[in-house]
């Protein structure tokens, strides 16, 4: 029995670009308890809904998080549209799905790079981010922004993408997908990757379910769930099979994300081929009155938007329950008993997005 020591982790830490602070109670080399503290990037943007027009708030909603920005903007729009009873045109639905999948691919590639960096595989980190740049190029070409897409709008999408561009983007994505397959082999087979990930950060199926994990963290523990099956946007016309791994460790979570990138690339091809013609925007009229919960699948898991309108131009309440927020209790559970050197890695395996969690 060694002496107990408290080691602070963060807020400014080389492993994570974002500030998170965890007090690690350590006994010898093993973590006994992890106590998080938050608020370094709390912005209080939910309160901003009282000051901004509900159309204008789309720009704020997109900036809940810069990595999955489009899905945030779209989730907000979807919630308001349901309250206002607007049917958006089919082409807008398909374009939304297109951008959702692009942002999933770019987010997972980003995460894969950070993970490789966290276990000291610099070369793999660079390769992941190289492929990600191709995805970002497609995003920039179709929406005009690299990370903040700025193309969500209540009643549809803000800009149309002509079919030639869609086809051209599909070709670019196909080349990125081919390169990614080689990378995936490295993640699947490489000795050093397996050495660092297998058996680390165990989260059993029951624990994951009880502690309320979402997204790849939950699917990596063997629970078959995916909010895309709800069939929002154009997902009801696409065939989606949730990717489930049963090993319950960091490696399983990594592989879930790897397979999801492939799945996203395939979906992008399908969407580019199947997007119907038509208008992309329907002008909404009136003000939202009523409340709604919208559920969407983000790269990190299920995200929930609650919107309550009172018939004026300002909404009376807006609330986001982001996936990282839901994944923090499972993370603290995983950290108990792990070795100090693995802390950075385990924190990364839930794909933390602190600015989402703190809003």
């Amino acid at each position: 029995m060694g002496e107990r020591t408290v080691i602070p982790f963060g807020p400014q830490h080389p492993v994570l670009p974002e500030p998170i602070h965890i007090d690690l109670v350590v006994e010898d080399e093993h973590v006994v308890e992890a106590i998080p503290s938050f608020g370094f990037i709390h912005r209080g943007l939910e309160k901003l809904v009282e000051k901004k027009d509900f159309h204008e708030f789309t720009y704020v909603a997109e900036r809940v998080c810069g990595i999955c920005s489009y899905i945030h903007g779209m989730g907000y729009c979807q919630a308001v549209e349901t309250v206002m009873n607007i049917q958006i045109p089919p082409r807008a639905k398909w374009l939304r799905t297109f951008w959702c999948e692009l942002s999933r691919a770019h987010s997972h590639l980003l995460w894969a790079g950070l993970l490789a960096d966290a276990f000291g595989f610099e070369n793999l980190f660079m390769q992941c981010w190289r492929i990600r740049e191709t995805v970002l190029d497609v995003i920039e070409e179709t929406t005009g922004g690299r990370v903040i897409f700025g193309s969500a709008k209540i009643g549809g999408v803000r800009r149309d993408v002509d079919n030639d561009t869609l086809k051209r983007c599909a070709v670019k994505i196909a080349s990125a997908a081919a390169e990614f397959e080689e990378l995936k082999k490295v993640f699947r087979d490489d000795y050093s990757v397996k050495q660092r990930l297998c058996g680390i950060g165990m989260l059993s199926r029951d624990d994951a379910w009880t502690l309320g994990a979402v997204g790849p963290t939950l699917r990596g523990s063997g629970v078959r769930t995916d909010t895309r099956l709800e069939g929002y946007a154009a997902y009801n016309e696409l065939k989606i099979e949730p990717i489930v791994e049963t090993a319950c460790d960091s490696y399983a979570r990594c592989m879930v994300r790897m397979h999801e990138v492939t799945q996203s690339f395939d979906l992008i091809q399908e969407i580019a081929a199947r997007t119907p013609e038509g208008p992309v925007f329907e002008k909404p009229s009136g003000y939202p009155n009523g409340e709604y919960f919208a559920r969407l699948e983000q790269p990190r898991g299920e995200v929930i938007y609650y919107v309550k309108g009172n018939g004026t131009k300002n909404l009376s309440r807006f609330r986001v329950r982001t996936p990282t927020f839901a994944n923090i209790p499972p993370l603290l559970h995983m950290l108990q008993g792990c070795e100090l050197a693995d802390v950075g890695l385990i924190v990364l395996t839930i794909d933390p997005c602190i600015s989402c969690a703190e809003r």
């Binding site: 204008e56 720009y59 070409e141 005009g144 922004g145 700025g150 080689e182 490295v186 087979d189 397996k194």
Partner: protein, 149 residues
């Protein structure tokens, strides 16, 4: 388990063209649709103040009396709300951002707009301070030329 998966990948990239772009030496070609800084065409603007009202960050200030349109480039988030709202379509996106600066400053563009004169009496007084002639070197383009390398 294949032990040389990464080695294969690394060796391959030895024979590929470099992924790096020589950015400051070779300027970047942006996509046509890229959202960048906001430009104004002063000759068509009618000082309607809609862009001022719609801007989510209050980066645009329109002075109707002084006949100027002012933008704080360090506040503009390139969302394009003003462009969508502009009834005369005088605002547009350039496809690149403005350059980094060492001091905060705003850009003021004089607007040579003559308000239509429904009543003859105030019209003479309004037209008297001669509307600034259409600026030869449009100020919003002036900072495009001296791009540091």
């Amino acid at each position: 388990m294949k032990p040389l998966a990464m080695t294969k990948l690394s060796l391959k990239s030895l024979f590929k063209a470099p992924a790096t772009v020589a950015y400051p030496a070779i300027p970047r070609e942006y996509f046509t649709g890229t959202r960048g800084r906001i430009l104004i065409e002063p000759s068509t603007c009618n000082l309607c103040v809609i862009c001022d009202v719609r801007c989510p960050t209050k980066a645009i200030k329109v002075d109707r009396k002084g006949q100027t349109w002012t933008i704080d480039r360090l506040r503009c988030i390139q969302c394009g709300a003003c462009i969508e709202a502009c009834p005369r379509k005088c605002l547009s996106n350039e496809n690149r951002y403005s350059d980094p600066v060492t001091h905060k400053e705003t850009l003021t563009v004089p607007i040579p707009f003559v308000p239509p004169a429904p009543k003859p009496k105030p019209a003479t007084s309004a037209a008297a301070p001669t509307p600034a002639p259409a600026p030869a070197a449009t100020p919003e383009n002036s900072d495009a030329k001296d791009r540091p390398v």
